[in-house]
């Protein structure tokens, strides 16, 4: 038997969490060192798996499978492919840097790191899942500690509201998705006669026609059908939106900025950097890949919602005074691009989506790290109250500016290599199945200018993003340093700088040499395109 890399990656944080809980509470340094060791271990293994993946072979590799509840066809089933490997690496990066910048957490660091790592285990578990039940199981593990982390260690003013809002949105979303998933399970069983949650088997059944029937819902009084439509078309929106809530899709995005703001720094990094990817990733893995016909059918109108995400998020970001809110809404805008890329139903768009998930994760983790460092020293995040910070913390200023330029798609940084394919993909996209859409939408979506127009409108966000980033940079880092900060605001620690360097370097490397990731993502996009029935 080969070494179970993916399981070890998944459970490293959990093991570390247990270990940390065994350390006496007052030995805070030992807690931190243990956490750091786990972070380093996870990133090394992730790098090994990332570079050890055989791109020529493709498909799932590093597979492990154990029966879990065989009666229901549930198994512990993990594998790595081109879509989840960048995200596993991203999670490891955010975990490591999160530990580095949380060194100063002094309020019960033991519990803090334990919960944070429980969250990390959940995230890893979702990304590597091949079994649908497995995916849901870890999905809930990832969502649950958020509540405690925000409600206990969060920002006093809004933490209860935000924690509640976030938890409700995400649980409701996942329940809706779960219902859809169970419908798929039943449909597959009816078709093949077997119980299985194995997504590969379900996908094969889908391709063989397991979902090719109409769902009919009759009016109980008259007996006339209320709804008679193909299974995929009905179920897809539920599954997709159920997960996409966590990806921040409009109009279900409002939990996210509130959550970001209330969360402590490392949790914000995890939350925006990794958790939102979890939603987008699951929407792709479960929604698009298991219900490709549904995706083809609904794309023309969902893309409009994502357009709102992109433009509207950036406009709201521009008006924020609180740095964290600004970044929160900027995440809504950038994650909108990921969802928009899913709706292009073409290769180049999906490759862009994969790159954007990674790039945005690193970038936004960097942003929250920077804001956390400023807040820890200046005790405010309000832009009008800040100024001249570049003189006091030059490293943070440089890192924030690099992040800012990544976010506005400056070439040679990762944001550009991610957003360019998305724009190219949107421009080339076509409406594939319009039969059954409302007439006006069908005729609109078939216009040759429909998707190019969406690309054009979403390009407005490029300008607006530049506006809010520059505004923030100018207000926070340049200009006059408020007098009260002159003495008590100091520079950041070496560990903080290390974290900033790791994050910046990742963005620069990917920006200069995208071939380090794009072909890997391509290996997984090919099969998705085959499912979707496009080249």
């Amino acid at each position: 038997m080969t070494f179970p890399f993916l399981s070890v990656i998944t459970f490293t944080p959990l093991a570390a969490a247990v270990l940390i809980l065994l350390i006496p509470a007052e030995r805070k340094t030992e807690v931190r060192v243990t956490a750091l060791a786990a972070g380093v271990f996870a990133i090394l293994l992730s790098l090994y798996v990332y570079f050890g993946y055989d791109q020529a072979a493709g498909g799932y590799q590093f597979v492990e499978r154990y029966d879990w509840v065989p009666q229901l066809g549930i198994s512990y089933y993990v594998g790595a492919d081109g879509l989840n490997l960048p995200l596993v690496l991203l999670t490891a990066i955010v975990m490591l840097t999160g530990v580095l910048i949380s060194w100063g957490v002094d309020d019960r660091p033991r519990e803090f790191f334990a919960f944070l790592f429980l969250l990390a285990t959940g995230v890893f578990g979702v990304f590597v899942a091949v079994d649908l039940f497995h995916l849901f199981f870890f999905y809930e593990i990832a969502v649950f500690p958020m509540y405690l982390l925000i409600a206990i260690w969060g920002w006093v003013k809004t933490r209860e509201y935000a924690a509640m809002k976030l938890t409700l949105y995400l649980f409701i979303g996942s329940v809706i998705a779960l219902v859809g998933a169970l419908m798929m399970f039943v449909a597959v069983r009816n078709f093949t006669g077997e119980n299985t949650f194995d997504m590969l088997a379900m996908s094969a059944a889908e391709q063989a026609g397991a979902f090719d029937f109409n769902l009919v819902l009759n009016n109980p009084f008259t007996g006339t059908p209320w709804l008679a439509s193909s299974f995929q078309k009905v179920v897809f929106p539920f599954v997709f939106f159920g997960f996409a809530v966590l990806g921040g899709i409009f109009p279900f995005h409002n939990w996210s900025p509130d959550g970001h703001v209330a969360a402590p720094t490392a949790v914000s990094m995890f939350h925006a950097g990794v958790l939102m990817k979890l939603g987008a990733f699951a929407a792709l893995r479960v929604g698009v890949m298991l219900l490709p016909e549904g995706a083809r059918f609904h794309a023309p109108w969902i893309v409009l919602l994502t357009l709102v995400n992109v433009v509207y998020g950036s406009f709201i970001a521009m008006t924020q005074q609180d740095l964290k809110y600004m970044i929160g809404f900027s995440s809504v805008s950038h994650m909108g691009l990921v969802a928009m890329a899913f709706m292009t139903i073409n290769r180049i768009g999906y490759t862009g989506a994969g790159l954007q998930m990674f790039s945005h994760g690193v970038m936004t983790a960097l942003f929250f790290a920077c804001v956390g460092m400023i807040y820890d020293r200046a005790h405010t995040r309000q832009m009008p109250e800040l100024g001249g910070m570049a003189r006091k913390m030059p490293w943070v200023a440089v890192a924030f500016i690099i992040g800012g330029f990544t976010s506005m798609g400056m070439p040679s940084l990762s944001g550009f290599v991610a957003e360019l394919p998305i724009f190219l993909g949107v421009w080339r996209a076509r409406a594939l199945d319009v039969a059954g859409l409302p007439g006006w939408l069908a005729s609109l979506a078939q216009q040759p200018w429909y998707f190019p127009a969406i690309a054009v409108i979403s390009a407005v966000s490029i300008v607006v993003t530049a506006a809010y980033v520059l505004r923030a940079v100018q207000r926070v880092f340049f200009g006059e340093l408020p007098h009260e900060f002159e003495h008590h605001v100091g520079d950041v620690t070496v560990l903080d700088k290390t974290a900033l360097v790791v994050l910046c370097a990742t963005m620069i490397i990917l920006g200069l040499y995208p071939a380090i990731m794009a072909p890997l993502i391509e290996t997984a996009v090919g099969p998705v395109m085959a499912l979707l029935g496009v080249q």
Binding site: R347, R391, V417, L424, A459, A518
Partner: protein, 744 residues
């Protein structure tokens, strides 16, 4: 010397890299040492210059270089494979005649600007204790190393753009320059002015970045559209393929009535409008003068704004796809002709009424770029490229000259203040803010700064198109000749603009250098300080090229003479196009016009300003009346844009999106649902749970209790009573059970 082609290819790859290396070295290693920093920057820039000139020299020896270019590329961002109809995005370099000419002057001007900056940043002077980082210094620049780091990164961006073999890499260089111009314009980020309305360097930097960003957005869309249609962004594959160009020019686009090449061309042109500060996105460039003067020279003369025009020249085969000389213009060409000609005239009129020595040059730059764009719009490919080259030399010269003037006047101001202090003027009030850039405070500098004066005059004459000697004459004459043949309307507009150009140039020279000094600062100005040495060196070299650069493009049959040397520029650069453009016949009309406007403008300018005295109004203010204020305030475009774009955008984000939709509708609905759920819960509690569910549960308990209480009465504990009750029950039961039977 002989070089192998492989060597030249490698060299081309390497050309942009030394400045990048310099940037990294300065940031990481040498930032503590000012000397090491500028040695690194200048040394590595010099290396790029040498490599560029070697490549240029090599290309001169190639026959039909246009067809035998130097090119190499590697995969950068792979998408699928050729079999699927997608191609990897490639990164590569290309040297064709146009690139080669660009390399020639870009590398040289960059190097000279670097050398100039040493003096401009007061290298060699002690540090002044009053200097704060981020403000213009009196002593040596506190952020000296950083300045050279930014300059190097900027040079990297420009060289990258020049050697790029595809639109994407060109866009990368384009954006890097945008970033650097942001950093450099805002270099004096801590500078504030007493007048809150005066734009600060910080604001100017943001304004420049945002305005060009609007253009960049369109450009990116143009790139996306082109890629979706052509499946490639490579210059060679698109621009040198007749088949591809025909395909693009005949495929209907998403916009009704326009072909793909038209829409792409217009979008790319929008990028140039931003980068080259053409109307209506011209507003950023004059404010960009807030940057240090070498930056102005670099951004607004030699490199960044030229990049916009370069992009258009580069994409000309696409912009003009399907067009042959004599045909009606294609839509992108028409747009360029109209926008370019209008901008040329429009900004020339503004330049006439400016008082800031650098602002005049800024508007003059916008105007000259308009000349190039207009020339390209009417099909004057060679003329546009030629003017791009000559303009880079003489405008860099003028900017650097104005920087020397400002420095000289500041010195004089410093000197005069010290004299005033030592001269016993004890009650000397804190000096009123002195503006060393205002030309009305100058005068008489010719005698005090002779080298600056003579080089500035050379630059000014070149800008005005002084006949037969200066480079500007030859290139401008060619533009006018083209316009005369292809579009007489454009010809008239450009001729008027050229007249104004000569006029404001002479106005500037008169106000700055001639007459008597009009302030103590001008009285004491000098160029004898050691810091001026590198600055003057750069001026002299540029002055040489400001004259001679024009001689390579003289018509062969000029004035009907047979020139002893051929029109080299035409033959060389024309090879870039698939069809070599026909050489223009010599025509006396445009020549006469260019002689008249150039000499007439200069003379008129001299005549109006020759007798200007201190304290008098601008002699133009009287005759122009209210128009003068309109020109001085730049036709109020800043105010207009504030109302048209900035405020609506703020309203859209603050009021509409944030307040109404996000907090109002979405959060409002959510909270409504939340409150509704809470209320529903209360209703359940108050009207169902409490009375019904709880009530019935309680009712059971209560009734049992009540029942028990009423039965407690009989729990007396007396045996006799119990027996009595027992008997009674037996009797009653017996009666009930037995009586019916008895009745039968």
């Amino acid at each position: 010397m002989q070089f192998s082609e492989a060597f030249i290819q490698t060299l081309t790859w390497l050309i942009p890299l030394p400045p990048l290396l310099a940037f990294a070295l300065i940031v990481l290693v040498t930032n503590r040492s000012k000397t090491l920093s500028h040695v690194t920057a200048i040394g590595l820039m010099g290396l790029s210059w040498v490599m560029s000139w070697i490549v240029f020299y090599y290309t001169l020896s190639i026959e039909h270089f246009g067809e035998h270019v130097i090119a190499a590329a590697v995969d950068w961002l792979p998408f699928g494979s050729a079999a699927m109809g997608t191609q990897p995005l490639q990164m590569g370099v290309l040297v064709d005649p146009l690139t080669s000419v660009m390399l020639f002057f870009v590398s040289l001007t960059c190097l000279l600007i670097f050398i100039y900056s040493v003096g401009y940043s007061n290298y060699g002077k002690p540090r002044d204790d009053h200097d704060r980082p981020g403000t213009p210094p009196h002593g040596v620049e506190p952020l000296y190393s950083r300045f050279f780091a930014y300059l190097s990164l900027f040079a990297f961006g420009m060289l990258l753009l020049v050697v790029a073999d595809n639109l994407l890499l060109m866009f990368v260089g384009w954006e890097i320059m945008g970033l650097c111009s942001y950093l450099l314009i805002g270099f004096w980020h801590a500078r504030n002015y007493p007048d809150p309305k005066q734009i600060t360097p910080r604001q100017a930097a943001v304004k420049a970045f945002m305005t060009t960003r609007v253009g960049d957005m369109f450009m990116l869309l143009g790139i996306a559209y082109l890629y979706s249609q052509a499946q490639t962004l490579s210059f060679r594959e698109i621009l040198r393929s007749d088949e591809m160009l025909t395909h693009l020019a005949t495929t209907p686009s998403v916009v009704a009535g326009l072909m793909v090449s038209h829409v792409v061309g217009l979008l790319l042109f929008a990028g140039t409008i931003g980068k080259s500060a053409q109307f209506p996105l011209h507003v950023w460039l004059p404010d960009a003068m807030e940057g240090p003067t070498p930056v102005s020279a670099m951004i607004h003369a030699a490199t960044m704004v030229s990049a916009g025009v370069y992009a258009m020249i580069r994409m000309f085969p696409l912009l003009s796809a399907g067009w042959r000389p004599g045909d009606p213009l294609t839509p992108p060409m028409l747009a360029m002709a109209v926008v370019g000609a209008f901008t040329a005239l429009f900004s020339a009129t503004i330049a006439v009424a400016q008082s800031d020595v650098k602002k005049v040059l800024a508007y003059s730059t916008i105007s000259q770029l308009g000349f190039m764009i207009a020339a390209l719009g009417i099909g004057g490919y060679i003329a546009a490229a030629f003017h791009l080259v000559t303009h880079a030399f003489f405008k860099a010269l003028l900017f650097l000259g104005s920087g020397a003037v400002i420095h000289g006047v500041e010195h004089g101001h410093h000197h005069a203040e010290q004299l005033a202090h030592t001269g016993g003027h004890a009650a000397h009030a804190p000096a009123a803010p002195f503006d060393p850039q205002n030309m009305f405070n100058m005068g008489g500098l010719a005698r005090r700064m002779p080298i600056t004066y003579w080089t500035f005059v050379i630059g000014g004459l070149a800008l005005s198109g002084f006949p037969f000697v200066t480079s500007g004459f030859w290139s401008k004459d060619e533009i006018l000749a083209d316009a005369w043949v292809h579009a007489p309307v454009v010809f008239v507009v450009l001729a008027v603009a050229a007249l104004l150009t000569a006029f404001y140039t002479m106005r500037q020279i008169s106000l700055t250098f001639l007459g008597e000094p009009r302030s103590a600062a001008a009285e004491h100005a000098s160029e004898n300080d050691s810091i001026f040495r590198p600055m003057l060196l750069a001026l002299v070299v540029l002055a040489f090229f400001a004259i001679t650069a024009g001689w390579v493009g003289i018509l062969e049959d000029f004035l009907g003479l047979r020139m002893p040397f051929p029109n080299w520029f035409h033959g060389y650069v024309g090879g870039v196009l698939l069809e070599h453009p026909p050489a223009l016949e010599f025509n006396p009309v445009p020549l006469a016009a260019s002689l008249v406007v150039s000499l007439g403008g200069l003379l008129f300018g001299w005549w109006v300003y020759r007798g200007y005295r201190k304290g008098a109004d601008d002699p133009l203010a009287g005759p122009l009346g209210a128009m003068y204020a309109v020109l001085r305030d730049k036709y109020y475009f800043d105010e207009l844009y504030e109302r048209l774009f900035v405020r609506p955008a703020v309203w859209l984000s603050e009021t509409f999106a944030s307040e109404w939709v996000d907090k109002g509708v979405i959060d409002g609905t959510l909270h409504l649902v939340g409150r509704g759920a809470l209320r529903l819960g209360r209703i359940f509690r108050d009207y169902f749970d409490a009375p019904v569910v709880n009530g019935s549960g309680d009712l059971v308990g209560e009734s049992v209790k009540r029942f028990g209480r009423s039965f407690r009465v009989i729990q007396t504990g007396r045996v006799q009573q119990y027996l009595l009750v027992g008997m009674a029950i037996v009797v009653v039961l017996g009666a009930v059970l037995l009586l019916p039977g008895l009745g039968q």
